[in-house]
């Protein structure tokens, strides 16, 4: 059974199209990552699924409930964290949780028990009496997730959960998320623009300029890029690009000062370039394709390029 189903969803802010004909499905217990540059439509899709923006065209069902017709049932089955923190810094961890519980109709002994449970799950029980404004970024994010687990939702929607976290905190956050999925079979829909996070998802959808341009497991996506990936850093990208195209009939993608080539048996090309273009490059790297390469192949752009938008 699909936990999240999106069919031909379209959303416009006035003239600007933010989502164009987006369709995908996420099975129960799956970790599904939405990958794309900022401004690609991830947040809009998120707001639509979490009932904050109306459905203009298309369909969306979350946990079996229609988002347009039964928003309250959807709200009850989802736990959401947004990019901007929703904790009240003037309240303690426990007070924030209690407040959240009340909003979901929990009270009394049941609420107390659930607060203790989620604080244990997220490892913040020893900070229960601390004001959330005094917590580190990583701990805040954990409290945020504890908060959205309180009513035992079937689906978690996490918008860039690790933004602003250092690599250590990011790593432990993902351990927790994957643990949750394994223990309670909760479905997790997460947006990210970090490749290392995308690699941890079961399946990915690549969202660019409002369109879902590819989806599949990280490995399936990597297979879209054939063979090896060659990365060349150079001071004169234009000249070298022309030369490579002419001499090796290579398909070269240029991104700033770096050139990328996809090729079966990349090591042969590597050796040729190393000897024939000596002195024209700063570095020459050969690797298996990454999700970054996939993204570049699909869009012709670097994933971080859209960040200023």
């Amino acid at each position: 059974m699909s936990s999240v189903e999106v069919e031909q969803l379209e959303f416009r802010y006035g003239e600007r199209v933010a989502l164009r004909d987006v369709s995908f499905a996420v099975s129960a217990g799956e970790v599904f990552g939405l990958l794309g540059p900022n401004g690609g439509g991830k947040s809009t899709l998120f707001r639509v699924l979490s009932t904050l923006l109306p459905i203009q065209k298309g369909n969306a069902r979350v946990a079996g409930h229609d988002v347009a017709n039964d928003p309250d049932a959807v709200r009850r089955s989802i736990g959401v964290t947004f990019q901007s923190p929703s904790l009240d810094g003037k309240l303690t961890v426990l007070e924030n949780l209690r407040h959240q519980g009340h909003l979901y109709g929990l009270s009394g002994a049941k609420l107390k028990q659930r607060c203790a449970e989620v604080m244990d799950q997220l490892g913040v029980a020893d900070r229960a009496k601390d004001f959330t404004e005094k917590l580190s970024g990583g701990l805040k994010r954990r409290v945020e997730i504890a908060k959205c687990l309180l009513h035992a939702p079937e689906v978690l929607l996490l918008d860039e959960p690790s933004s602003g976290l250092d690599p250590g905190a990011r790593h432990s956050l993902w351990e927790i998320l994957l643990g949750l999925r394994n223990e309670s079979n909760v479905t997790i829909l997460v947006t990210t623009h970090l490749m290392e996070e995308a690699d941890r998802c079961d399946r990915l959808g690549v969202l660019d300029a409002g369109e879902l341009i590819a989806s599949g497991t990280p490995n399936e996506l990597r297979c879209m890029v054939g063979g090896d990936s060659l990365l060349i850093q150079t001071e004169n990208p234009e000249t070298l690009k022309a030369k490579l195209q002419e001499q090796f009939q290579a398909e070269v993608i240029q991104l700033g000062d770096s050139l990328r080539i996809e090729r079966e048996n990349g090591h042969e090309l590597l050796a040729q370039i190393a000897t024939q273009c000596e002195g024209e490059f700063r570095s020459l790297t050969l690797g298996k394709p990454t999700l970054e390469d996939v993204f570049i192949k699909l869009t012709g752009r670097d994933l971080s390029a859209g960040e200023d938008a």
């Binding site: 904050l52 009850r76 923190p85 079937e154």
Partner: protein, 285 residues
């Protein structure tokens, strides 16, 4: 935690209105008590105004209809006005907190919860009302005591139980009305700076033209504006409950009119708040 859903099975599709309202209102009060600077801002400035204006304008103030030994001192006249100013400042602070909640993401967290939209309005407005009422009441109770340290003249106030209850009721409806009015502006304005504009152009003039600071004037247009200002009736009603000698208030709206306009204004603002909150499709953007 198990795969089954022990929590949501027992509950209905929507959280009860009162629980959500209660928790949002309590949050307002707790936050306020934890931010000392807000307390000083909301109550300190009006008290300073009261003492300084009272001392400065004492000689030049004459309440129409009261002369000689029984004359109403400016500080007596100004007392209900300052109570309403405290209410106004508190309501402004709670409105600003709506803008902050929305910008910080707290409001998004509430909006994705299965709470009736009216609970969001009621929680915010009732929380703000409770704070305004509490502060204004404390001021009214404490102000006459300033006489003993020579910061205020002796006051001739009506302190029977009936009058205190009536005064508190009036303060409640004034607080509710002003807080609901503040919500209305805050919901439509996305920056704190923008709200300051509304404050200077709409809210403070509304207070100035309510008879809180000066009792009307000869000017035709000003009298007209004052009689159209709903806050005039709140201030007048509060004044009626506090002043012993009702004779000097003969030019004021009747008690009936005061009650009717004050309650009506609060109910109207609150209804509009609920209406705009319900129909706002992109409240989080």
């Amino acid at each position: 935690m198990t795969a089954s859903n022990p929590v949501s099975e027992e509950t209905t599709s929507r959280s009860p209105l009162w629980l959500a309202t209660w928790t949002l209102a309590v949050r307002e009060v707790v936050r306020f008590l934890r931010q000392r600077s807000r307390l000083i801002g909301a109550i300190g400035q009006p008290v300073v105004f009261w003492i300084l204006f009272g001392a400065g304008l004492q000689g030049s103030f004459a309440m129409p209809g009261s002369e000689g030994a029984d004359a109403l001192s400016f500080q007596e006249y100004f007392l209900p006005g300052v109570a309403v100013l405290i209410v106004l400042f508190t309501s402004i602070f709670s409105s600003i907190s709506i803008i902050q909640d929305r910008n910080e993401g707290f409001m998004q967290g509430v909006l994705v919860a299965p709470v009736p939209r009216s609970a969001i309005v009621l929680g915010k407005v009732l929380g703000g009302t409770a704070l305004a009422l509490l502060q204004a009441f404390l001021f009214l109770a404490a102000a006459p005591l300033l006489h003993f340290i020579n910061l205020a003249p002796e006051m001739n106030l009506n302190l029977s139980a009936d009058c205190i209850i009536a005064a508190v009721m009036f303060l409640f409806w004034i607080s509710l009305g002003l807080t609901a009015l503040g919500y209305l502006f805050a919901w439509k304005i996305d920056s704190v700076q923008g709200y300051h504009g509304v404050m200077s152009v709409v809210l403070l003039p509304m207070w100035l033209l309510s008879g809180a600071f000066f009792p009307g004037s000869e000017s035709r247009w000003m009298s007209l504006l004052m009689s159209l200002n709903p806050l005039t009736y709140g201030v007048a009603g509060l004044r009626r409950t506090l002043v012993v000698d009702q004779q000097i208030l003969s030019g004021y709206p009747s008690m009936m009119a005061c009650v009717f306009v004050t309650v009506g204004f609060a109910v109207a603002c609150l209804s509009i708040d609920i209406w705009i909150t319900r129909r706002d499709p992109a409240v989080a953007s």
